[in-house]
């Protein structure tokens, strides 16, 4: 249950964030996140769902402490502001592996930064490579691996840090459907063993309902929380066919309706919204544009 004096593991409180965006020869202030609040309890699996470009990655960067909010507050374990560090492990949307390091060295990289002794960190890397199913690829280099394998490395790297909070940014978005389902179930298994707090970002409604304790639904940019939905599907979820469970079907249908409503009320999209194509529809799969650029 965590320490009793802590109500929340992560608390996002009325956070605002804008970026300057070049518009011709002028710079315009573009609101990405507006008055966004939600909380995450210890060992909870929270999935954030929102349309493309609504600011999900930005939100994770804020939580990780890589950037600071313009207004509002983000507390981790009741402490604020958040600063990057080994208490939070991030799995990035575009894998971000070091091309000059092999699988084990990549997994061990954050541990090396923390100054862990070489033998210890390599042993740990080996353990986590095994956990995510990378056995046999320990000495491969990222450019020799498929996207699915690369993201396993990204996952193992974050897990090996033994973080209190796992921040996952559409980790499976660029994988094909089959690998994706396998990875989802593996993640559930790992999470049930490790019991870390997870904040998981996705486009996919199916993925959200399958994984989440709670779903935080974001609106189009500037994103705010539209709704928080409890998912009470029984766990463990890899032991039965979740997708034909009546609750799964009704929750998914409900989410779908909510998103269609959001799209149908364009007043929520301010004039600032200047992107060429508005694509707030939730996509089931994404083009593999987020592949790493290792060459």
């Amino acid at each position: 249950m965590g320490s009793d004096n802590l109500l929340y593991k992560v608390e996002v409180d009325s956070v605002n964030k804008s970026f300057y965006r070049r518009d011709g020869d002028k710079f315009k202030l573009l609101k990405i996140v507006e008055d966004l609040s939600f909380t995450v309890s210890d060992k909870e699996f929270v999935v954030i769902v929102g349309p493309s470009g609504c600011g999900k990655t930005t939100l994770l960067r804020l939580i990780d402490g890589l950037i600071q909010p313009d207004a509002g507050r983000i507390s981790i374990n009741g402490r604020s502001p958040s600063a990057p560090g080994p208490d939070k492990g991030v799995v990035f949307q575009s894998f971000r592996l070091l091309p000059w390091k092999n699988v084990l060295e990549n997994i061990a990289f954050p541990l090396a930064i923390q100054g862990l002794h070489k033998e210890k960190r390599m042993a740990r890397a080996l353990e986590y490579a095994k956990l995510v199913g990378l056995t046999g690829f320990e000495h491969s280099y990222p450019h020799e691996l498929s996207g699915g394998m690369q993201q396993r490395v990204g996952l193992a790297r974050a897990l090996a840090m033994d973080p209190e909070i796992l921040l996952m940014d559409e980790p499976f978005a660029s994988l094909d459907a089959q690998i994706r389902e396998i990875m989802q179930l593996e993640l559930l298994k790992i999470w049930s063993q490790k019991k870390t707090t997870v904040i998981f970002v996705t486009h996919s409604l199916d993925e959200a309902v399958l994984l989440a304790d709670r779903i935080v639904l974001l609106g189009p940019r500037p994103s705010t929380v539209k709704e928080v939905i409890d998912i009470s599907l029984p766990r463990p979820r890899w032991t039965y066919d979740v997708k034909s469970h009546p609750d799964y079907i009704s929750i998914r249908a409900y989410l779908w309706r909510r998103i269609k409503e959001m799209v149908a009320t364009p007043e929520s999209i301010p004039e600032m919204y200047t992107e060429p194509q508005i694509q707030p529809l939730i996509k089931e799969s994404r083009p593999t544009t987020s592949q790493p650029t290792t060459d």
Binding site: L66, F92, R96, L98, P99, W100, I113, E144
Partner: protein, 261 residues
């Protein structure tokens, strides 16, 4: 049929074609030179005879060693100065911003314009030639190292910061290794520029080494020997550039897509 086998067959094919082309060229060369006269274009057989003579009496070997020694000294000095400087420029933004304009300006200036000055400062022999090789090879190395550090993937830097990396870690663990492929390109360009430098120096200063032979043979119309010297120079340049490329593949395999040994 296995993949390796078919590849082997194809490679054999390529070499066969190369050999055929080579033979045709030699024959065409022989015919043209016989019709034009050897003072204009020496015959391949004449060049071959000259080559045997020059190798046997040690002329070529000695000249090559002189050129290579001068080149190596200047090149290594250039590497020793250019890499730390490029890294400093990339690692410390202010240093980079202060220096890059001047470096680019110097790089664009033809090195030959400096020869009179270098002769006044460093004389006509070894020292002066080393300086010419040094300033020839220095710029491509410093510019590429600097570019390499600047072009590091920002996403990798952010990921590392997320894992708790401080500025020192970012420089040593990300920027430095990420710049290696660029650095190697710089080293390769530096070889080519350095060889141009040494030959230029041997042309304009004391006529020693391969450059010296070329000047001597050229001005005395010893066409066969001139061809031998030029060919040796070509081979040396090719071998040096290829060696750097090999090293590059060995230590930066992720850029070339080869399998790491």
């Amino acid at each position: 049929m296995s993949n390796g086998e078919s590849k082997g067959v194809r490679r054999l094919g390529a070499n066969t074609y190369r050999l055929i082309l080579f033979t045709i060229l030699i024959i065409v060369w022989q015919i043209i030179s016989m019709s034009l006269g050897r003072m204009f274009l020496p015959t391949p057989s004449g060049v071959a005879t000259a080559a045997v003579e020059l190798f046997a009496n040690g002329t070529i070997i000695e000249a090559t060693l002189i050129s290579l020694a001068t080149f190596a000294t200047g090149y290594l000095l250039a590497v020793a100065l250019a890499i730390p400087m490029g890294l400093m420029m990339g690692g410390f933004k202010k240093v980079g911003e202060a220096l890059d304009v001047y470096i680019n300006a110097f790089n664009a200036m033809p090195r030959i314009a400096l020869i009179p000055l270098i002769m006044i400062w460093f004389g006509l022999d070894f020292q002066a030639k080393v300086v010419i090789v040094l300033i020839s090879a220095f710029f491509p190395i410093v510019i590429n190292t600097y570019t390499g550090v600047l072009n590091v993937d920002k996403d990798l830097l952010e990921a590392s910061r997320s894992f708790g990396a401080k500025d020192k870690d970012l420089f040593l663990r990300i920027m430095l290794p990420a710049s290696v492929p660029f650095l190697m390109t710089g080293l390769r360009l530096g070889v080519a520029r350095g060889i141009m430098g040494i030959i230029m120096a041997e042309f304009f200063m004391t006529a020693k080494g391969l450059g010296g032979l070329i000047v001597t043979y050229g001005s005395t119309f010893q066409m066969e020997k001139l061809f031998v010297a030029v060919t040796v120079l070509t081979v040396i340049g090719g071998v040096l550039a290829e060696s750097v490329k090999r090293v590059e593949k060995l230590i930066a395999p992720w850029k070339t897509g080869t399998i790491h040994p």
